[in-house]
């Protein structure tokens, strides 16, 4: 038997994320993952005992990722606008690969998740909001951005534009997302 190395776990995690973001949490099964990766159903359960565990790990990976991005942006000597554009580009990418964001993907199913999984979602949401908030505050301070709301509220406006924007793009087309993207930047620059 050719030993499967530990990137089976990573493969499940990536495929799981992809499926969650493409067809939704309750629309795929462990059997789908197993078939795709040429492993058995039980192998998926070995790495992620329950489906909620899998989603939780997807969320955790996002948390790690955003923590990393946060540190990168903190050290970066680029304009706040460039920082914001880096964050926005993640959503543009989602539209390109026909996915929606991990949070938006669970929005409908949120109430069916175990409480501890929901708490992880809250952590991710607050992390992303704080990252954007920080960037907006920075941009306002140095004169790059103009807005009258608090950074928190301005963040809420932008992130809801992006989150629902990628969702809308699947229904009415990518152009609408592009309009939204441009409008966000325009709004901030006076």
């Amino acid at each position: 038997m050719v030993t499967k190395n530990n990137d089976t776990r990573e493969a499940i995690l990536h495929l799981g994320a992809s499926l969650i973001q493409q067809v939704g949490y309750h629309a795929f099964s462990y059997a789908d993952i197993a078939k795709s990766l040429n492993i058995k159903n039980a192998a998926v359960h070995y790495h992620f005992p329950t489906k909620a565990d899998l989603y939780e790990s997807v969320v955790e990976a996002h948390i790690e990722n955003y923590l990393l991005i946060g540190k990168e942006l903190e050290n970066a000597t680029i304009p706040a606008k460039a920082k914001l554009e880096k964050i926005i580009s993640r959503y543009t990418h989602l539209v390109e690969v026909d996915r929606i964001c991990v949070i938006g993907a669970i929005a409908a199913d949120y109430k069916t998740l175990p409480v501890n999984t929901r708490e992880k979602v809250v952590t991710l949401v607050e992390l992303v909001l704080k990252l954007v908030e920080k960037t907006l505050t920075e941009g306002k301070k140095n004169g790059e951005f103009t807005f009258t709301e608090s950074s928190r509220v301005q963040t809420l406006m932008i992130m809801t534009n992006l989150s629902a924007g990628v969702q809308l793009a699947r229904i009415t087309g990518r152009k609408d997302f592009d309009s939204i993207r441009k409008s966000i930047l325009k709004q901030l620059s006076g």
Copy 2:
């Protein structure tokens, strides 16, 4: 046997909409509906042969409803702001009853729907967008609203705020939705 009158269909439709908006399309079954309404599984299939048919009917009911609202607002001699607030209040209500909108609820699962059902969703989305767009144009013309984007793009910004706003409210709380609501109105009034 006491004859069930045709509001069984209505009851299924209402409960179906409620479930879609509360736990998502793939997270409830016809058995759930049957149990709740004290009817048999097959009775649900009698009224809505497939689950996609049920969702489609929910969307159609929304289309009828928005068509009606459109006519009402057309004849109404109230400010554009009041018209917009009527539309916004629908989303405020969703937050209060812990639901998300019918479109947002299907966003993740969208690709799992049959093509003709998706087309109905497109129709509903365009209808709502046009209704808001018209209201914004009207408000701009008579000096109630100020915005620099086209009415279409401004509509996209507002509707994504609302749609993702109700989704976010389930995760971070209702206050965030309230901030969004206020900011939308503030933005438009100069």
